[in-house]
């Protein structure tokens, strides 16, 4: 019923830092999430991309040093694809994703609070319908808990290197673009408020 008290405390601390970073990163905001999908605000992609590049280096280092293990979700094709479609529609209409909606509640956003109640209803429906859903998620095959290095027979470090190189190139591109056309970047609300 409960994890150990130490593990619960670690989860709480990790969550507080996560929520703090989501709020400071401005992704707990409807206009930033929807603005990303309308190509008006690239905060979400910049933030997720940086997190993935930085995270991949350290997590694969920990796994290589045998200090942590991978926790891969299975490639249950019907579940992943149908889930992604429902998720994408829901996220665009709601204007928050699950983690950022919790942070948006912390920021005092009422529409996010009502949406979180809806999320609980969605989770309840999933559990109640589990016996019907479980076979459906397996209907297009299951590749199991595979990684990109697994399916291509390559070293994970090749992929991590590609991620770092791609991230560095994107960052450089962003910095050059910003220097070249300052009017675009100063028009963004988060630049204005960053120097308050």
């Amino acid at each position: 019923m409960f994890d150990s008290p130490e593990k619960l405390a670690l989860g709480l601390v990790t969550g507080i830092v996560f929520g703090f970073l989501l709020q400071k990163g401005r992704v707990a905001k409807f206009e930033v999430i929807v603005g990303q999908f309308l190509f008006k605000d690239w905060t979400v992609v910049k933030m997720m991309g940086t997190a993935v590049v930085v995270g991949a280096v350290g997590v694969y280092a920990l796994v290589t040093a045998d200090m942590a293990s991978l926790h891969i979700r299975p490639a249950l094709w019907a579940g992943v694809l149908l889930g992604a479609v429902c998720f994408g529609i829901g996220m665009a209409v709601f204007g928050y994703c699950p983690g950022t909606s919790i942070a948006a509640c912390g920021e005092g956003r009422r529409d996010a609070m009502v949406g979180v109640l809806g999320m609980f209803a969605g989770a309840s429906l999933y559990v109640a319908l589990y016996e019907q859903i479980a076979p459906l998620t397996k209907s297009l095959g299951d590749w199991g808990k595979v990684t990109l290095p697994d399916v291509t027979g390559t070293s994970p470090w090749l992929w991590v290197t590609l991620l770092v190189a791609g991230g560095a190139a994107a960052l450089l591109f962003d910095l050059v673009m910003r220097r070249g056309t300052p009017t675009i970047s100063t028009g963004k609300p988060h630049r204005a408020s960053a120097h308050q």
Partner: protein, 182 residues
């Protein structure tokens, strides 16, 4: 230099790097990827069991999760969700970045002044999003960040399809005209 804790926003690169480092911390201390929606599934399962105790026998969910070694419980991830709420309260209180309107301005410009309509769609869309996350076994955190950084095939496919569908949905809802209000 301004105090970073009282700033309303940080560069997305700084906040993103912080989340990357936090992933190292989560893997190193708890051997756990950061994710949000499993906690909702577990809470729902525990609630259903509390209301209808015999559901533990009648619904395969409980037996299956037990054999998978993932029975519903108050876990590290459950506390993570509580922490996200607290962390956002601390951050927004320190900077005064609070008091957003019930109806986001972009929504108001396209769909009007009814708070009831906005809240009804928030509820329904939240439910659909969570249902999808559980079908796929992850969300923007569990798949989009934690799964992709582990190079999981399921996670890269999920996040590309989900964000593609979300982009199409947003353009269908707001179009070029609406995009000008962002």
């Amino acid at each position: 230099m301004a105090n970073p804790f009282t700033m309303k926003s940080w560069s997305p690169y700084i906040a993103g790097a912080g989340i990357g480092l936090l992933s190292w911390f989560a893997f190193a201390t708890a051997d756990h990827p950061i994710g949000v929606t499993t906690a909702f599934e577990h809470s729902a399962a525990l609630a259903e069991k509390a209301v209808v105790p015999q559901v533990e026998q009648t619904n395969d969910y409980f037996a299956n999760k037990k054999t998978e070694g993932k029975p519903p419980k108050i876990s590290w991830e459950w506390m993570l969700v509580v922490g996200v709420f607290i962390g956002a309260i601390i951050s927004s209180t320190l900077s005064g970045d609070r008091g957003a309107p019930v109806i986001p301005p972009l929504w108001r410009a396209r769909f009007g002044d009814s708070a009831l309509v906005r809240l009804a769609f928030a509820f329904g869309a939240g439910a659909l999003m969570m249902f999808g996350a559980r079908l796929a076994q992850g969300c923007t955190s569990g798949h989009g960040i934690s799964g992709t950084l582990q190079l999981a095939v399921s996670s890269w496919v999920f996040i590309l399809v989900a964000f593609g569908v979300a982009t199409a949905t947003a353009w269908a809802m707001y179009g070029k005209e609406g995009a000008r209000h962002v």
